[in-house]
Subunit: 344 residues, 2 copies
């Protein structure tokens, strides 16, 4: 299957699967007509993957570099075989396949990939520096983006670090503003973290007073972030696992009507029931948290006879990167929080 | 919290959680004003739970009965501590709390619970018979249904066994006919099993030729079931894990437009990518399969930049039991398949 838009033509083994589940892919920098070649400057290794490597070889720049070279040499991609995860990369566009030249992209543009390194063909010539505190690696390398691959142009008006910290959770705010409707009560669990703050900001930017936002936070730091952002109409400070107490708080704040939309941005397990119980009949729960258990959500709603729609948080939606970056640009308090707390 | 509609007033330990995650609940048959007392005839133990008990104590009716009595005595509910699962029960309504008397239910009605035994207060007086082949237990017992609990009246026109085999997957067809729209192409993965057949039938009953159904099956038995039902416009026989081949088949059958709605009723892992790849941009994937991995779905869609809506299969939706029973009543071929293959 030459030139498959998902990149299956580059899968070496096992045959027939997609590049992400594949063990080894072809990292040849001669691109097909529907591929893009990137001159890579920096890898942002997934934090679980980076931590595993440090644990395995020690906090030693050279040994970490060797391990990364070894993995990429074996697999044709920076796909950690232990954690299964990848990361993202930044680089400049070196070549655009002729079938993709109608895109709003030109040679020399600086871009960040929004698909995982675990599926991105990568050939490293040299590792120049390992920045241990940031899980980042400065490299001389080439990478290939498939026709189905997604990426964002590095904005001129903010630092790479800030842009990366926003793009990391870009799926959440664009989905949030798409799911909310005028008149809704929206409950955000984990409202003080990166994705939670972006969701609150996205909804308030679009709907203002036409949507009531309730922010659920637990830590003092999260509470401070939400207060500083100033886009929550109500704040509940409770453990996100305490389903019954949260239910009663939301009940009080909504005169028993409960939330039309619940957005779960928490990163701890066992918060499914809190999300479900706070939702009204035929309302929606959007699980953006990667700690969500499919069965706990499915059986939890059934167990109390709740007819609600539960959505799996898709990390991608159309224009998600632009939406996320624009929100931070337009809201100074949000930009400040991201710069102070999430981009160091 | 007296008379909580979710039954938290019956939680003994740990305090503050819901009856399902609770270790022990109060099985006192003196019901509150918003509860229903059931005179239980038969427990249908969840198959994972029943198998675990048989493995632990052997295929011995008396020992199985003792084990069940021991669990219910300890926890106040038939909530297997090893598997975490429950099952359902059949019985007759003995008493209706005064706040629930406006419901369409009267003392003496025979009902099956549609919430899990893992959250249902149960007091067993005597076990009369253990029917090992059916995972069922004939009992003299009392059970309590909470205000939020759901149940279905046993239909007069079919056997208990047939009704139970339908009610077991009742969430699927009602959701399927709600999600489909006129003009849609609907792909059903695992179309030859109970829930897959019910989904195909539900959609065809409602939309007829206005929806095109594509059935994906793997085994010969499943293929036979789908052919006998006669409600698939196209049939693909492939391993549900083979994402790329399925993509190409669906591509051919839809002239590249792909499916508007994908319903995943498969009971094996690693079918997320097959579902995602077969779906069109802004289409929907409904994961009814309990083998679905939340992260594989979320990262899988992101990895190929697919802007689709992915739904967690809720075992409950309004009128789901009536919808499922009616479909089987109205479609003789479906009733025959259920009687022959699923109710033995």
């Amino acid at each position: 299957m030459e030139n498959c838009k998902f990149g299956t033509h580059r899968v070496l083994e096992p045959k027939g699967v997609l590049p992400q589940p594949a063990w080894k892919i072809d990292n040849n920098p001669d691109i097909a007509d529907n591929e893009i070649l990137i001159d890579v400057m920096r890898l942002n290794i997934d934090s679980a993957s980076f931590r595993q490597i440090v644990e395995e070889v020690g906090k030693d720049e050279e040994k970490i570099a060797s391990k990364i070279l070894e993995i990429v040499d074996k697999r044709g991609k920076m796909h950690n075989p232990v954690t299964g995860s990848g990361g993202m990369l930044i680089g400049t566009v070196e070549k655009i396949g002729k079938n993709l030249r109608q895109r709003d992209l030109k040679v020399g543009d600086k871009i960040a990939t929004l698909v995982s390194l675990s599926l991105t063909p990568l050939k490293i010539e040299k590792i120049n520096k390992v920045i241990i505190d940031q899980d980042q690696v400065e490299v001389e390398a080439k990478a290939v983006i498939f026709e189905s691959g997604i990426y964002a142009k590095q904005p001129d008006d903010m630092s790479e670090t800030l842009a990366l910290s926003i793009l990391d959770v870009a799926g959440a705010p664009a989905q949030a503003e798409r799911l909310a409707k005028k008149g809704d009560v929206v409950l955000i669990l984990g409202a003080g973290g990166k994705s939670g703050l972006l969701c609150a900001a996205a909804i308030k930017r679009k709907f203002g007073k036409d949507v009531k936002t309730i922010a659920l936070v637990n830590s003092k730091r999260s509470l401070e972030n939400v207060e500083k952002l100033g886009m929550a109409d109500e704040i509940i400070q409770l453990d996100a696992k305490d389903a019954v107490s949260i239910y009663h708080e939301v009940y009080k704040l909504t005169d028993g009507k409960m939330a039309d939309l619940v957005i779960n941005c928490v990163n701890i397990p066992d918060t499914e029931m809190s999300s479900i119980l706070s939702c009204k009949e035929r309302g929606k729960v959007y699980f953006f948290s990667m700690a969500t258990s499919f069965t706990k959500a499915a059986l939890g709603a059934e167990g109390i006879g709740y007819d609600i729609e539960m959505l799996i948080g898709n990390g991608y939606c159309k224009n998600h990167a632009d939406v996320a970056l624009d929100i931070v640009r337009e809201i100074p308090a949000l930009k400040e929080i991201f710069q102070e707390k999430f981009s160091k």
